[in-house]
Symmetry: C2
Subunit: 383 residues, 2 copies
């Protein structure tokens, strides 16, 4: 099909030409001074996005890799952990902890909803013996388009010593997150979301309190070991061969993020969300997440009658070259997800709404052509 | 400095422009048909390089990551394993097995030498109870420039049921390797060596016998789990988000490798080795590995008087923009390593020899200027 594809997934996200060009460079020695300077620069830059002055390691891995890294470095077999799940990725974090021998107490909230900090508070308060060693939670739940209020969760934990470990893979850089201010101990992210680079880098930020706990950790590990990682980082290196081309891309993406400013980036994502939700609501479609928990990174839309979402996606792809994500597990075919994360333009989103109107109309649903687009225009106009 | 750097490391290796351009493309949906077709194509291609019709998974990871993948999928805690080491990477494979609870018997050979299959045979024959569950060995030892005769090692194991697990990270595609013919059970490799693409992809090939053993494996794992990997591969997907841009590069690199032909590629690497060793020998420098075990991927050269290697490397870098690798651990400053792996030209290697002659002369060593170059020319002429 003519023209570039509209890639509106909650990851991988579109890559800016500047980033592609930055990656399009010869390899260098990953044990030499040029790489060292770059590694220090990107480490500083990613820490800035996290809002942390503590520790950060960059792994050649997907986001799931760094979830495993967090578990094997900071949770020991037999440790009791509280895993808070609001969807697929909350379940995944819990499953990893379980696979590595933790005693997992999982609390699940309805898909589309956020975790209720009061319930977390109750559980935490009952733990008089301080047996819970860690609380695992997702920041932005990619499977539902809802986000958790991490600051409130930390406050709910009061002075309980459990580590707060947060999966920020799809939220960091798109949703407000202040690791040190909020008191988060471990936070995981990846390259293919708000960082605007291809998949293949995992980020793990961790505080000094987590590092102390790591010293006595008894889990099996080698590749993810943070002691090795930090020892090499001191020399300006990574423990194992780094994904050099992706780090070139990260370096350029961080320059772009600094030019725009983190607050502006987050506000831009809020604008995407508000516009998309208003326009889609205008078409009479139901949104999975309520306003107060709605992600700025993606919007999950229920298909009319809660079925046929995959046919809508398929028509959007074949006729308009627009890639949307489907629903996962029990939400397969029930809903589709519109990613508005990273290097997207609001007019792309407006175009998606226009295409969705046509698709719905052609599929036999009652839609007023232009109603959603008009709503989106009003949002753009009002700013 | 003017002109492109001579990157003569045993990884990362130079990236062909065709591969860089292939990577310089927009992201696609990693759960869609376009990615599926590409994944099947590269999986087939990499299997061809291994010489296997069995199973192959591609991970977003460095080479060390897939060493860990092999251990956690195919070795259970308490399993006795025989780890054969001829250098840093043999030691690493043993350390990973140990970290994950295996009972490791390690036999180490002198650095620069290959493992003696007779000694392996003796150990294997003594194991009447068949308690050894796996033999771990390095194909090409990057730290010394020696390679092991894997076929002979398998023959030495006779009908012992232990899995033969081979670290082929730096050897695959540069040295002969025939996984199925030789009866290798698990073989690991990575992208940044003979595959001519940036670091960030790990390859794990494994036979059906290994897969059977995996079914009862009790090690902790999640990210590396091959059951999950194979289930997703059946759908044309990876279990976790793949490093899409590197897979674009792999696709193009495999086309280039098919154009050249695997036998020709391996012969080309033999030519590099023979030329470099003859020329350096002509300069009176000592080579760490003897001819019969000498790697086709890199040559380890002892500095005159066995010290000052880092100063030679530093002069080569600063004056000629030539990047050589140093010696590792006790061989630091004792030797340097010339990578001749992947997308290099023999005239680049001739230029390195010329530069080395100048560097040695200026450093006060007795060298006949042009002697090594002349030898190299003779090698080129004789073909």
């Amino acid at each position: 099909m003519i023209g570039q594809q509209y890639l509106l997934l909650p990851g991988p996200t579109p890559i800016p030409d500047r980033v592609l060009r930055a990656m399009n460079r010869p390899m260098i020695n990953h044990r030499g001074p040029e790489f060292r300077d770059m590694l220090y620069e990107v480490t500083r830059g990613v820490k800035g996005i996290y809002g942390t002055d503590q520790n950060l390691l960059i792994y050649p891995s997907s986001g799931t890799g760094v979830l495993e890294a967090a578990v094997v470095n900071f949770i020991s077999p037999g440790d009791k952990v509280l895993a808070v799940s609001i969807g697929v990725f909350g379940d995944r974090f819990a499953a990893i902890a379980q696979n590595f021998g933790a005693e997992v107490e999982k609390i699940s909230f309805k898909w589309g909803e956020a975790a209720d900090p009061h319930i977390i508070k109750e559980i935490i308060q009952k733990d008089k013996q301080k047996q819970i060693k860690a609380v695992l939670i997702t920041h932005n739940e990619t499977s539902t388009g809802a986000f958790n209020d991490i600051k409130a969760v930390k406050q709910a934990m009061q002075d309980h010593p459990a580590l707060l470990m947060v999966d920020c893979v799809s939220g960091l850089g798109a949703l407000e997150f202040n690791m040190d201010d909020w008191g988060v101990d471990v936070a995981l992210s990846g390259s293919q979301k708000a960082f605007m680079i291809p998949p293949g880098l995992g980020f793990m930020a961790f505080g000094n309190r987590a590092l102390e706990i790591h010293r006595n950790n008894t889990n099996h590990r080698y590749y993810w070991d943070v002691t090795a990682g930090l020892n090499y980082l001191e020399k300006g290196q990574t423990a194992f061969t780094p994904a050099i081309s992706l780090i070139y891309g990260l370096q350029e993406a961080l320059v772009m993020m600094a030019e725009e400013g983190l607050d502006n980036i987050i506000q831009r994502h809020r604008n995407y969300r508000d516009m998309v939700r208003a326009a889609i609501g205008e078409l009479g479609l139901e949104l999975l997440a309520p306003d107060q928990h709605a992600s700025t990174a993606l919007t999950a839309v229920l298909a009319p009658g809660r079925s046929g979402a995959n046919q809508i996606r398929s028509k959007m792809l074949n006729r308009f070259n627009i890639v949307l994500a489907g629903g996962q597990l029990e939400l397969d075919d029930v809903m589709f997800r519109v990613g508005h994360l990273g290097y997207v333009r609001e007019l792309d989103l407006l175009a998606v709404i226009a295409a969705l109107e046509i698709t719905l109309l052609e599929s036999g649903f009652k839609v007023e052509l232009g109603a959603g687009v008009h709503k989106a225009q009003q949002y753009i106009l009002a700013r």
